[in-house]
């Protein structure tokens, strides 16, 4: 059975473009032009994944994501313009899975959707505990981090930070989410912790910390552990 995608987008051209490209890839596509229509469709038949445009005429979508998260772990990918940083981060913190900045290519969208779908249901299935890409290998259960087969020594905080990213490998994790999960909810304003620890972690993991291959920066939003 093909997967059902709900595309929430008010621009007709982009909506039909997405519908066409996603159908070609074998998705069953449903579209909504407003948040209220999307909410109605979600109640009627929950999709497997949602592609949500920011700046819809009837609101900013945070409510929709919160409502959806109460019952489902359906992945949500946010599509935003460059200047909608704050709104985008709010949605990610509210539980959206990833984001794309307009203009984006269909290839990028499909890649993001694949990652999001892979993580779907991680709350039910065994959580991701291992990660391997090129020279890097991480096994959380064994407390093991290797580069080129050589074990790396990480401090407890560095390991917690890396572990948090491994569990969401391929997806963006916002500053707030990282600070909350690694240091605690009272540290959400201490972004300099992230800068300093991420620099330490990169110095150990990356071949060239100035052009990282694994620990990618999503400027102004958060970090992403590369998984492809």
């Amino acid at each position: 059975m093909s997967l059902l995608v709900l595309v929430v987008e008010d621009d007709r051209e982009i909506r039909s473009l997405l519908q066409a490209s996603l159908s070609v890839e074998g998705f069953e596509v449903q579209t909504a032009v407003s948040l209220s229509e999307a909410a109605a469709l979600l109640r009627h038949k929950p999709p497997d994944i949602v592609v949500l445009d920011l700046g819809l005429p009837d609101g900013d979508g945070v409510q929709l994501v919160r409502e959806l998260r109460k019952q489902h772990s359906t992945p949500v990918i946010v599509v935003s313009a460059r200047h909608q940083e704050a709104q985008k981060i709010e949605l990610l913190d509210a539980g959206a899975d990833d984001y794309l900045t307009k203009p984006f290519s269909v290839g990028e969208l499909l890649a993001r959707m694949r990652v999001a779908l892979r993580h779907r249901g991680t709350s039910l299935a065994a959580a991701v505990t291992t990660h391997a890409l090129e020279d890097l290998r991480v096994d959380l259960a064994a407390h093991l981090v290797e580069r080129d087969g050589e074990a790396l020594h990480l401090t407890p905080t560095e390991f917690k930070l890396l572990a948090r990213l491994v569990r969401s490998a391929g997806r963006v994790v916002t500053h707030r989410q990282l600070l909350t999960d690694v240091w605690g909810s009272e540290f959400t304003e201490h972004t300099h912790y992230l800068r300093l620890y991420m620099a330490q972690l990169r110095a150990k993991i990356e071949r060239d910390p100035t052009e990282p291959r694994h620990l990618l920066t999503e400027t102004g939003v958060g970090y992403r552990l590369a998984d492809a």
Partner: protein, 504 residues
Amino acid sequence: MVQVYDVQEQGAHSVRSWVAVALLLAAATVCNALLDPYVSLTSQAMIYVLVIVIAAYKLDWVQSAVAAVGAVTALNFFFIPPRWTFDVESREHFIALTVMLVVALIISHLAAGLRRESRHAALNEQRARQLQSLASSLANSTALDEVLALGQLALDAVFGGPNSLVLANDADDLIGDTAFPGTMPQAMRDGLRCCIAECAVLGPGTGRWPGLDAWYLPLGDKGRVLGAARVWPAQADDSDGREHAQALCSLLAQTLWRVRLAASMQVAQIEVQRQQLQSTFLAAVSHDLRTPLAAIVGAASALQTQREKLSPSEQDRLLGSIVSEASYLSTVTENTLQLVRLTSLQKELKRDWESLEEINGAVLARVRQRDPGRRIKSQVPAGLPLIKADPVLLAQLIGNLLDNALKYSAGEIDLVISANAQALMISVKDRGPGIAPAEQELIFEPYRRGDQSGARGAGLGLALCRAIAVAHGGSLTVRRRGGGGSCFCATLPLDEPQPEKELA
């Protein structure tokens, strides 16, 4: 004798002065009585003269005259033979008594004049000081309300009040009334309106509406009256008071005028800026947006109508040009919007502790897609200080500089980041044709490019880069490199102390 009755008739004067007169006379008389066996009549007369001089100097002229007459009478009664009578025996004594009386009156008159003048001088000095202190406190005011409040305080300090200050607006309404907010009596309102309309002082002693009990003073000169003041109480003969009120009002008027001019100048400046941006934006639409749009429409319509006739490789070329022109269009749009946001809306920067190494890494990851030959050589030292900055803007700054260098040069590009205690420096050095000294400032103007050869520029790229550096308190400059090429150098100051490294 006769004068004694006068004294009684003038009993309205303050009791204390009269007691003083009586005490002085009694003291002199007692003193003379004690000295009587030892001194001559001349010395006794001198003691009375002393009393008269003291009274004349300290008390007003009625009391000092009474003191003089009293002294002469006492001298006559107690000491001049025949004693215990008011009779004057010799002509000499009569002359002495008369002279003493005249001296007393003259001294009293002189002393009173002196007192009046020194009081007057003190008042003038106080008023001058008030004007001076008002002027200095007004010098820093920038709001009309503030000026009115200071003016009100100044008027209340001199005149009993209630005093009021109002401004006239364009619709001829009175606004900003300080003493009677919303409850000003109609007569007062009319007086102020009339004063503004006539632009003249009204009230007692001015020859206009002398029947009023207050002065109405305009704030401003003919042709630019900003408001009016009402000062109460007002006396027709108090011309000094009126002049002082006028001086205060003209000081207030000058300040009000200055504040109003400053406000309208600011409005004008914002308007000029807005128009400049508008023309910049129009320039963007007319050139940097229209050209790629034409290319996109051309390629897309060719594919639409002639697809069968085009070879697959030609189709690929057209598709590639659509994608690259569209992404160029997106960059120009983004730069234009960001520049408008930065310069016109006084956008608050979203500053946070950021690592330049990290931002630079993210930019390189994107730019490398257009740099397959890895022409960009980056040198980023480890352990750069953190900077409190807007990460999205810094990424745009570095990205635009690198895009430009890739576009205008063919050789290697050096990206060097360095730091000292005060600032972070980002340098992008290329081996392109270089920029003529005359052009070196112009390239930072919106919509100017180094070459006119047809290679397309990043539109507002450099203008935006400079605006971003300036918004962070820094600068962006360009210089020619020895051996050819250009070096763009952005300096970003490290204003805030580094955050504590002590980590949880």
